[in-house]
Amino acid sequence: MNEKKKEKHKTLAEKIIAFDERYLYFVIFIIFSFPLLKPLGLPLVVTEQPRKTFEAIEALEPGSIVVLGLGAESGSWMDQGPPTEAVLTHLMRKPGIRLVGMTISPQGEMFWETALKNVGERGKEYGVDYVWLGFIPGQEVGLASAASDISECFVGTDAYGTPFDELPLMKEINSANDVDLLVVYTWSDLGFFAWLRQWADPYHLKYIIMPLGAQVGIYISFLASGQIYSWVAGTRQAGEYQLLLKEPGPILATMDAQSTGHIFTVLLMIVGNTIFILRKRGKEAQ
């Protein structure tokens, strides 16, 4: 009897393994598309890190200077763009906060324009309340140069060629010593560590990051050590941040699809591990 049972399980496992994965891709397409087209209204709980980021920005005093490191890349913008725009919305709408943006990614300039277009100036004036300095070549070496002397690093002009003398904000910041908060979009280890080594750690800055959701496991040890103050990681936490901002956007509409996708992934993991165990038992029985 036991032998017959094992034979049945073995056959089922092999059938599942031989299953054409293209049918699975179609199922995934349906699982993700349905909640996008017909929202289910699943609850969304705000987790600790987006709340901590929100409170950190709310606690900034009028006149504070925030540096935004926008190391954006087209390959990661889909996951990191929403949290960047959510945090940028908060920074742009909070009165008295002044923003200086720069990037070590060649594509960063393009995504700064995209983010600013989506978020809007919200009453802030360029040159007085925010400045975009543009691309710094040289990765970490460029960042080190900017941290010690911004004017020297950017040759005294912003990304649009405007001299710093014509930008009132740039008269108040010339190095990382003048910065109150560092917010960095980082999709690669190189970007994360470069900002950590050259800005956050030596100048003891509060370091908030917007990493890929997949990188949370890598950076969690830096959160535990206090080197990262908090983060808004991925689309899900961007949705949570939008809830805190009380400005629902297109990201919240995707939360149902995220939830159903995650549930489906867990089911697939259970099925996959079950097959693994059944096959292992089948081989041991042989």
Binding site: F32, P106, M110, P137, V141, V155, L196, G213, F222, H262
Partner: protein, 209 residues
């Protein structure tokens, strides 16, 4: 005109998304074409950004009378010597400056920011106000220790086979937990990419909702 360009951009984006996802059915020339053009576009963008940076920062600096900015131009030009076999040795000078400055800038803060503080944060107090924090700190310390043992200590250093087997198993368990967690977040991120593209196709391209 602006509306037409925007509409064209949306259609090009949508067609490229469909061409790339056609790979899920099977490898095909459309996917290869999309892959090549995206790669070519990215390289072109990076090249233009490099030219713009040189123009803005180096040439801009020279125009302000900072003669020292000639040095980056000289070292940058030496890199192109690699294309000439007879003069390839000149490339080493440019590479030496780039590598040396990168290592020098990076190595100092690396010790403090990445090494010492991380080691310190793996040895946290087990007695805290919150029991879950205490358990978490204990797990961090134990898993860190056994992971290090797994990589460093071989059979010669732990002669007793039963102890060696158990320590290796615990090290593997720690690594498996870490890799499993990273793999899980990896899938979640990829799903976010898919959701974003589906949103683009349904709402921006087709115009549903």
């Amino acid at each position: 005109m602006n509306n037409f360009v925007e509409l064209l951009g949306i259609w090009v984006g949508a067609i490229y998304i469909l061409m790339v996802y056609s790979y899920l059915y099977k490898d095909n020339p459309l996917f290869k074409f999309a892959q090549s053009t995206v790669l070519g576009g990215a390289v072109a963008h990076i090249t233009l950004m490099a030219i713009q940076s040189v123009n803005r920062l180096v040439v801009g600096g020279l125009m302000e009378g900072k003669i020292i900015y000639v040095l980056p131009i000289i070292f940058g030009v030496t890199l192109y010597a690699r294309y000439y076999t007879e003069y390839r040795w000149i490339t080493r000078y440019g590479l030496a400056v780039i590598t040396g400055s990168f290592v020098g800038i990076r190595l100092g803060p690396e010790i403090s920011a990445v090494f010492i503080k991380q080691v310190k944060s793996s040895m946290l107090s087990f007695s805290t106000a919150n029991i879950y924090d205490s358990i978490g700190h204990l797990i961090i310390a134990v898993f860190t220790a056994f992971t290090i043992i797994y990589f460093i200590f071989d059979k010669k250093l732990i002669p007793k086979p039963s102890i060696h087997k158990k320590t290796m198993m615990l090290g593997r368990l720690a690594l498996s937990c870490s890799i499993g967690y990273t793999a899980g977040t990896y899938f979640i991120t990829r799903f976010s990419f898919l959701i974003d593209r589906l949103q683009y196709l349904f709402f921006t391209w087709i115009g549903l909702g």
